[in-house]
Amino acid sequence: MLIKKPSDIKPSEITDQKHYQGRRKFIQAGVGLAGAAMVPGLWLPPAVQAAREKLAGVKASAFSAKEKPTSYKDVTSYNNFYEFGTAKSDPVKYAHTLKTSPWTLTVEGEVNKPGQYHLEDLVKASTLEERIYRFRCVEAWSMVIPWVGISLADMLKRFEPGSRAKYVEFTTLYDPKQMPGQKRRVLDWPYVEALRIDEAMHPLSIMAVGLYGEVLPNQNGAPLRLMVPWKYGFKNIKSIVKIRFTEKMPRTTWAVSAPREYGFYANVNPTVNHPRWSQARERIIGSGSIFTKRQKTQMFNGYAEQVASLYAGMDLRKNF
């Protein structure tokens, strides 16, 4: 009997990755037909395959991270968006009921130009930039996401905030018909988040309207969501319909819901643990192998150089 040693395999015999993947897709399709129930998560939910629209005139940004972005599929099928259900697989299945156009943004509070703004006009007036940002969820997992967005500072300045505008509060749409998850009072709807005005005006802060060069999918917070990359994911409020400028610190949804666990600042900080779990490390999201190790979480999610000065002299244990 002839036993082949590994070195006996000629390079030409090794399946090219392209063919290998193609073959695997073919096999998976076959397996799927034979018994989809045996292979968890095999079928792409329909919303992932929904019409994808390219964004034109997107400029690259020097603020982009160097890490390799998480796959489009993972970014768009593993989401926390309780307005569509509390399971991470819910938003991709149910977010298609959200109607994102036309979309009006209400601006109020300590501001010279309050009123109703069409989202289209606001986006047209600004430059679309691709910002590849690290994304760290408070649940200790992370992604790298190529957002397309506009500078939040540019947008807010257009409303001419007054001298008493110390905070900016954002509110998500409340409409249980479009957002079926709101029928259950898991959180105190509508979702509210806020930033200190200097945080909001920081050059890293953006309003995202796209992903991977395309219009933002509903499950990722279409048509307009906040993206402040040095804070935990839940700060980055989705599907925003209202911006209010205030003098007092606004009450934000998670901080109200569990004040011991979620603070107003929610800056990524590996030295301050969540009361129930460690924040020192994070799991990198990516389909496939179960043998990927956790990586260390960085202070301010790796943006300390740019943002640490915002919190000079503050006790970050108290202001978590």
Partner: protein, 196 residues
Amino acid sequence: MNSLWIRLLKPSVFLLCLVPFVYLLVGVFTESLGANPVEYLAHRTGDWSLRFLLIVLAVTPLRRISGWTSLLKIRRMLGLFAFFYVSVHLLVYAVLDLGLDWGHLAEDILERPYITIGFTAWVLLIPLAVTSTNAMMRRLGRRWKRLHQMVYLIAILGVVHYWWLVKKDIQEPVIYAVIYLILMLMRVRNKTSKHR
């Protein structure tokens, strides 16, 4: 006919109990467990741990209601499967999630109450698994039953462990807790009616 049924009962239940495990294994090998496969494995094995603990607790009330005594023949196997799934759950967490970082594991067990509770439940299951043989049953006599009543405590530890770890939506842990309460109430009622 009856004896054939009894003979087939054990192997078929055995295979049935393995289905969730095989399903997850297929997912691992086809890399189709989604964006966070380790979390998926941890959650699904956790679900099945709780389900098996409750299934074991359901054996006695079901036997009383149905009068179907052959249920007792599979009780030990169901209990061992509960231990199996809890062990796999712990392994997924310690090996895949923490990468066998002992320092991190110790910190989690000591400092995070929901992990302390889950770990305690697994430790308490060990003596039950060890004493599940016929020889041990004979050796322990009356004390065997007392020891194995510890499963009432273990199941509630499992429910609390789950309840404590969810971020906000406690719907599922509540369902497990309600089933647990029903199964326990059925026991209490049976006991009190016996005494009367």
